[in-house]
Symmetry: C2
Subunit: 261 residues, 2 copies
């Protein structure tokens, strides 16, 4: 059963201010919560009797006693149109990484003010699919712990680390030879560009693309050509869609690689 105070507290976490103060975030649904529970620390779980019974051994292992709730009670605290069996409050993870080393060792993403929480969550899901485990977000990007972002990651948050950074500063600190890619509407085709297996791929804001302060550090500009090239079309691709096409191209099986050497 849910106390009035608990309902009020969960509602308060819709605001970034309150999530940040307590270093927590909310996740819902059996699949998402199931993926996050083994990875992040859960402070609180509200669940139906059915979910709690199905996950009894997991709950015992992590040592959390869930609040057993009815579907109607769950609806009162859920941010979903159709609440689903379980809602959990997790502690926000803190990832300390050496950014330069991480970018030297692996392929990473950077987001320059991606504003839409759903786009950010979808990008995390895409990164997860393509084995990209670190995303560097500019300070004006959407909050990764926004409920819409968390839900859209479909569990990707369990495997992808998000780092909030001063992006121009990070770029200035990278060794000169670091491959830094940026997507622009007018640039050489990604299909005729040399694509490396380490480095940084920068995606821009939904409306204005990559900012000048960030673009100044991008020496490998790429674009996704439309088809047939130059034909009338929509002005651009959605940023999560563009991220997916770019990541797929970087991760193409190398045995079939046709890239220009």
């Amino acid at each position: 059963m849910l106390s009035k105070n608990k309902i009020k507290y969960i509602h308060s976490l819709a605001l970034k201010k309150h999530r940040s103060e307590d270093h927590v975030f909310v996740a819902e649904g059996p699949r998402l919560v199931g993926e996050l529970l083994p990875v992040f620390s859960a402070n609180y779980i509200a669940a139906t009797r059915e979910w709690a019974d199905d996950n009894a051994s997991l709950l015992q292992r992590i040592g959390v006693e869930p609040d057993i709730v009815t579907p109607d009670e769950l609806r009162k605290v859920s941010s979903l149109e159709t609440p689903q069996q379980v809602l959990a409050i997790f502690q926000q993870p803190e990832h300390q990484v050496d950014a330069c080393q991480t970018i030297a060792d692996s392929l990473c993403l950077a987001l320059d003010d991606v504003q839409n929480p759903g786009n950010l969550g979808t990008i995390i899901r895409v990164a997860d699919w393509f084995g990209i485990t670190d995303i560097f977000c500019s300070r004006n990007s959407a909050d990764v712990f926004n409920p819409k972002t968390v839900q859209a990651t479909m569990g990707g948050l369990a495997r992808v680390r998000i780092h909030e950074v001063d992006l121009p500063e990070l770029l200035a600190s990278l060794p000169a030879a670091t491959p830094v890619y940026g997507t622009f509407l007018n640039a050489p085709s990604i299909y005729s560009s040399e694509l490396t297996s380490t480095g940084l791929i920068i995606m821009g804001n939904e409306g204005r693309g990559i900012s000048d302060a960030v673009a100044a550090h991008v020496y490998r500009r790429i674009t996704i050509p439309n088809y047939p090239e130059g034909s009338p079309t929509t002005e651009s691709l959605n940023v999560a869609i563009a991220t997916a096409i770019v990541c797929a191209e970087f991760r193409r099986p190398l045995t079939l690689d046709s890239r220009l050497q």
Copy 2:
């Protein structure tokens, strides 16, 4: 100025039933309305004085006298969080095509019960980018004239034709040699498959993928491998994301083509 009746009428068009009865749909914002106005017949336009002045010659050409409204009035009828200068009611286009001929002559998409209006709109935007001009939707797919779909197309609706069909029936009617592709979670990699420049690519429902009735007609099964292959990852990609990666791969510049022959 907006009459009470007009406000009530525009609100009623949030429901498919009312849109279908009148064969109309609603689009908002200067960019989207600007792309649709030269292509579709507008029955009604509500616009700010600024937009009407900027588009005076276009309005004269199409012979529509807009209702001049204040931003506050526009807010009353808008389905957007931030209403934008203009709202138009268009007649639904009716496209009569010979499906078999169209699929024989060009690369087309088919959607098997894609349910989310935003996904459908994003898929139309992707199709537009990649020069795919015909999409065949199963009867249980989201309504293409849902406001969320229309807005997400970003104008793609002006260049992509959507056909509601009985999908298993259409597939049964295609000549045996027609290349019919379907995306599945377990199938040969798209990177080792022969990809043709005509034919049909089928994308499945968000939750259950391609239905058995449709899958029975798919002889070219493909998948987008995750990276590294077989590593733990999110269960699947979002359907609009998967559509984008697949379309990009079909439309790769042929000069750099590395496909197995």
